[in-house]
């Protein structure tokens, strides 16, 4: 990422903040003074970036100004933390930033991994068809492992009810004429572990 575009992102953040600076509480005064800091000196070092990633994998601190707390932990500014997160989102290093729910607790207990053995030359087309179904939340291609595992296309359906999910799969098979395709449906029956991925080991 070039210096220029980093500066542009910071500029955007400043503009956004200027809208809120009229806030009568004066809460923004800290952030405002931080922005005045020299931007180049302000850029996150690689180790700070690594640390920020570790924090974002674990989750924001529960506080009114979470980014400010993170900035203090990293010994940098809130503006720089916000800019870095925004950059990572734009670069798609972060593919989702927000609430991560425990879907089973929310009632999504009929979670089916549907695996298909699709001819290599058709796999992109079938994947596009399956992905167009609103009930399909993920669709990936993975390698076959013959003879144990003949399936190369995976999709996930997170549903509240097993019968509904089964009916949805039947409807897809019919709609896309996939009855000839070898497939398997693996409902989950127990979550042994659910946590965010930890690429980095360090953290606060």
């Amino acid at each position: 990422m070039s210096q220029l575009s980093s500066a542009q992102h910071l500029h955007q953040l400043e503009q956004e903040r200027s809208v809120t600076e009229n806030d009568s509480t004066g809460i923004f005064s800290t952030a405002k003074s931080n922005i005045a800091v020299n931007r180049e000196k302000d850029a996150l070092s690689l180790s700070q970036q690594q640390e920020l990633r570790a924090i974002l994998e674990k989750g924001l601190p529960h506080a009114a100004q979470p980014y400010l707390l993170i900035a203090q932990a990293l010994n940098t500014t809130e503006a720089q933390v916000l800019a870095q997160i925004q950059l990572w989102q734009e670069d798609s290093l972060i593919k989702r930033f927000g609430l991560v729910v425990k879907h089973r607790k929310l009632g999504f207990k009929a979670n089916a991994m549907v695996v298909w053995n699709i001819a290599d030359e058709q796999v992109d087309d079938v994947a596009a068809q399956l992905s167009s179904c609103s009930e399909v939340s993920l669709c990936y291609r993975r390698p076959r492992r013959l003879p144990d595992w003949p399936y190369n296309l995976f999709c996930m359906i997170h549903g509240t009810d097993r019968e509904i999910v089964t009916a949805q799969i039947d409807a897809m098979v019919k709609k896309f004429s996939l009855s000839y395709v070898e497939k398997d449906i693996l409902f989950s029956f127990k979550a042994y572990k659910q946590q965010g991925a930890r690429y980095t080991k360090q953290g606060i």
Partner: protein, 160 residues
């Protein structure tokens, strides 16, 4: 099982899985959208967290850009499933681990800094469990839409 979520809790869940405000006071921004207050929003999120509905507010990194990652599976006799799952869970690099209905009945996702580190984790799992691991890395991602929309009956308790 009964759980009642306030309308505000449901709105927060439905709207902020794919994006969270990047500003100094994100909960104040949420509150403005829902005609609520920062304190109430913070409290509602705390309640969701304490009752186990929320894993975290944070980032899901792109597996391919962020490091090495793979789906993996083991075929385990049912009587040993819990104990093998426990061995797999001990690895910090394992972030999801599910029992699924199939001969391959234990499915987990492992992530590491790089391919070599990932391979070492999988080898170690094979060694400790004594079962071969089916390694199924993602080759192509066609579609990801992991947001859950809920619409429950609203809790009757006052939230004002």
């Amino acid at each position: 099982m009964t759980f009642l979520l306030t309308q505000l809790q449901q709105d927060i869940i439905n709207q902020y899985q794919k994006g969270f405000p990047l500003c100094s006071r994100p909960y104040k921004a949420l509150a403005e959208q829902f005609n609520s207050t920062e304190d109430i929003v913070l409290r509602e999120i705390q309640v969701l967290d304490e009752n186990g509905f929320l894993s975290r507010i944070g980032a899901v990194f792109n597996h391919q850009k962020a490091g090495a990652s793979t789906l993996a599976a083991i075929a385990v006799p049912e009587s040993e499933l819990d104990s093998v799952a426990e061995i797999v869970n001990q690895f910090e690099q394992v972030n999801h681990n599910y029992g699924r209905e199939h001969r391959y009945n234990l499915w987990f996702v492992a992530t590491a800094n790089n391919d070599k580190a990932l391979a070492e984790v999988l080898e170690e799992i094979e060694k400790l469990t004594n079962y071969p691991v089916l390694i199924l890395p993602m080759e192509e991602s066609y579609h990801i839409d992991l947001a859950f929309n809920i619409n429950f009956a609203v809790a009757q308790q006052s939230r004002h």
